[in-house]
């Protein structure tokens, strides 16, 4: 494919001796198109930073290949890969000012001083660091250093931009502002970027596609919307989304045109079997045990619903988070209005069949999302 910027094929990363070392990245394959912004999302130690460092060339690839702009690069030194990177630890050069640090990335290109100045000024304005250009890294705050480091990466004209937690140190308002500007900057120039983050808001806002990683394994690689609506497995389902998905183990019983999910403490959810597509019906009826997942935003209250008892009721200023004791677990629901529910009060819970995510109880793989098969 000519529009492929980055192609990772069957890459493994071992730290320490093979076999009894750490297997940090397991058989990773992914394909990034030119001009795409990809987020590697996952908790600490999931292999996302290892992946980034292998692409940059700071860690050798244990197995597999990495190609960038049509060239195999996994055996080349970092110098020859033509990638730009913003480091999590900023890594500015201490003896240089912020301006020199940013301009430094352009050194290899032999631009005229006027061009360099213009580019630096532009990126400094974009990142709101114009006032500290003359300062040294040791005399500015972490957030400012982070933006300088980001500027140093973005100013380059590389085949791939790697951004490791690029906005972790910024204040929320600034982060929101810069997210928009950086996305615009990257898109406007047709740059390809991979960003590593554990902040799903950032991933959702910036990325065209999100790669969710856990335990060194790529769990799902899809658009933010797909990941939210059609999580590939239980991990992605519970990892992405705030507040997290409600999860309950359920046993399936049915017959006579109905389908029931039996939860703990005798709670039973009954549905018309016609609410599910024939494929889902077939998949569900041949299983006994499944895991049910429901997003807090899709839980409805209704008087004739299944009984639950309010345990926590929090008004967050723009939405209410209610946690209720339900079927031996906790059901979290989100409502947009302020609800005046007392702790201990009984409520009725209604779960629409279209909002049910069903997962295999053993492998965690998704079976169905709402009416349709996964």
């Amino acid at each position: 494919m000519s529009d492929t910027a980055l192609l990772i094929e069957n890459v493994d990363k071992f730290y320490g001796p093979k076999g009894h070392g750490v297997h940090a990245v397991k058989n990773l394959s992914m394909n990034v198109r030119k001009g795409e912004i990809i987020a590697l999302l996952g908790s600490s130690g999931c292999g996302k930073t290892s992946t980034l460092r292998m692409i940059a060339g700071f860690e050798p690839v244990s197995d597999g290949t990495i190609s960038l702009a049509g060239r195999q690069v996994h055996l080349l030194p970092p110098v020859k890969r033509n990638v730009a990177m913003a480091f999590e630890g900023y890594s500015l050069y201490p003896p240089l000012t912020v301006r020199e640090n940013i301009a430094f990335a352009l050194k290899a290109k032999r631009l005229s001083q006027a061009e360099v100045d213009e580019k630096v000024a532009y990126i400094a304005k974009l990142l709101e660091i114009e006032d500290i250009l003359g300062r040294y890294p040791s005399s500015i705050s972490g957030g400012q250093q982070q933006r300088a480091s980001l500027g140093r990466a973005l100013i380059r004209d590389a085949d791939l931009h790697l951004l490791d937690e690029p906005m972790g140190q910024l204040e929320p308002q600034l982060r929101a502002l810069l997210r928009g500007r950086i996305k615009h900057y990257i898109k406007e120039r047709g740059l390809t970027a991979i960003l590593v983050t554990h902040d799903q808001t950032e991933a959702n806002a910036l990325a065209d596609r999100i790669a969710v990683m856990e335990g060194g394994v790529l769990q799902q690689f899809d658009t933010p919307q797909k990941i939210k609506e059609r999580p590939a497995n239980l991990f992605t389902g519970t990892f992405v989304g705030e507040p997290p998905m409600n999860v309950f183990e359920a046993s399936i019983s049915g017959g006579n045109g109905s389908l029931s999910f039996g939860l703990n403490e005798g709670v039973k959810l009954d549905y018309q079997i016609a609410a599910f597509s024939p494929g889902v019906q077939a998949e569900l009826t041949k299983r006994r045990k499944v895991v049910l997942g429901i997003r807090p935003y899709s839980v409805r209250r209704s008087a004739d619903g299944v009984k639950a008892r309010v345990a926590v009721n929090q008004w967050l200023g723009d939405q209410t988070h209610i946690a209720a004791d339900f079927a031996g677990g906790t059901m979290v629901l989100v409502e947009h209005d302020r609800t005046r529910l007392a702790i201990g009060e009984d409520i009725g819970i209604h779960l629409d069949p279209s909002s049910l995510h069903v997962f295999d109880s053993e492998t965690g793989r998704a079976i169905s999302h709402g009416k349709e098969l996964a």
């Binding site: 060339g57 630890g89 290899a108």
Partner: protein, 285 residues
């Protein structure tokens, strides 16, 4: 503003004075002695009032030592020159070998790297005299005894471990990502070492070099055994002042003043680096 109470300040002043007296008095006394004749030095009780004389310094510089038994030739200025040459050359060689090695030990964990680094450090554990006996033999076979090259080689036992371990700690303190950032911007490994790692570790390298210089300068036993008079540093040359007609305290004092002057000057000049470098290297090494 930090405020200290008056008694605290006074107590601190007294403590500082005591410490300074304790450490500086011998040097002060030697300095005074270097301007006296043997008679005034040995007079009891000692007195601070005397007519200063430059004869001790004159004797050292002209190389003619006049004693009751006659005139003796001493090669003090030659010794001083030897000291300067041996120490400087040893430190230079150590830096040349030790700094890249320290970088390798700090950045690349290869098989056996810790063992090699520790072996190098262990050179400092062995009592020098034990090492010297076999070394003398080898040096005679190799034709290295009584040569500057041989001495500089042996001095590596003193300088190299010191530089290696202090500078290694310094390199480890530099975030590897700073170097990665430089390399990814299109620079080779060697350019990164030269332009990023070396300047950032500069103070540590300076401190380690200075410390190695002091140790090399003060070494006595290696040169005593392995070098003849013409190659000997001041530490060994000072033995010449113990003559058959008595010990020449005045000349010894003058010789001490002259021989500590270069290291003292160097240490004062680089004091800032030394303290900074030592504390970093010591904690993180």
């Amino acid at each position: 503003m930090e405020s200290t109470s008056t008694p605290e300040r006074i107590l601190r002043g007294i403590a500082l004075t005591l410490v300074i007296l304790f450490f500086m008095f011998p040097i002060f006394w030697i300095f005074m002695m270097s301007f006296q004749t043997n008679e005034t030095i040995l007079q009891i009780p000692p007195s601070l009032s005397f007519t200063p004389t430059l004869s001790n310094y004159m004797a050292l510089i002209t190389g003619k030592l006049t004693t009751a038994a006659g005139t003796l030739d001493i090669a003090f200025m030659g010794n001083l020159g030897n000291s300067v040459f041996l120490s400087t050359a040893s430190v230079a060689v150590s830096l040349l070998l030790g700094v890249p090695a320290a970088y390798a030990f700090a950045r690349h964990k290869f098989r056996g790297s810790e063992d090699i680094a520790f072996t190098l450090l262990s050179f400092r554990f062995a009592p020098p005299l034990l090492v010297l006996l076999p070394l003398t033999q080898y040096f005679q076979w190799l034709g290295l005894s009584d040569t500057y090259i041989g001495l500089i080689w042996v001095y590596q036992l003193i300088c190299l471990p010191l530089i290696l371990w202090i500078v290694r700690g310094y390199f480890e303190d530099i975030s590897a990502d700073v170097e990665y950032a430089y390399r990814i911007a299109g620079h080779s490994w060697f350019a990164t070492f030269r332009k990023i790692a070396l300047p950032l570790a500069g103070p540590g390298i300076a401190a380690a070099g200075l410390l190695a210089f002091i140790f090399a300068w003060n070494n006595f036993v290696f040169a005593l055994v392995l070098a003849s008079a013409s190659k000997q540093p001041v530490t060994v040359g000072a033995l010449a002042f113990v003559t058959s007609s008595g010990i020449q305290y005045g000349q010894i004092a003058a010789a001490i003043v002259l021989s500590i002057a270069p290291t003292l000057a160097l240490a004062l000049y680089a004091q800032r680096y030394l303290v900074e470098g030592l504390s970093l290297g010591a904690v993180k090494g």
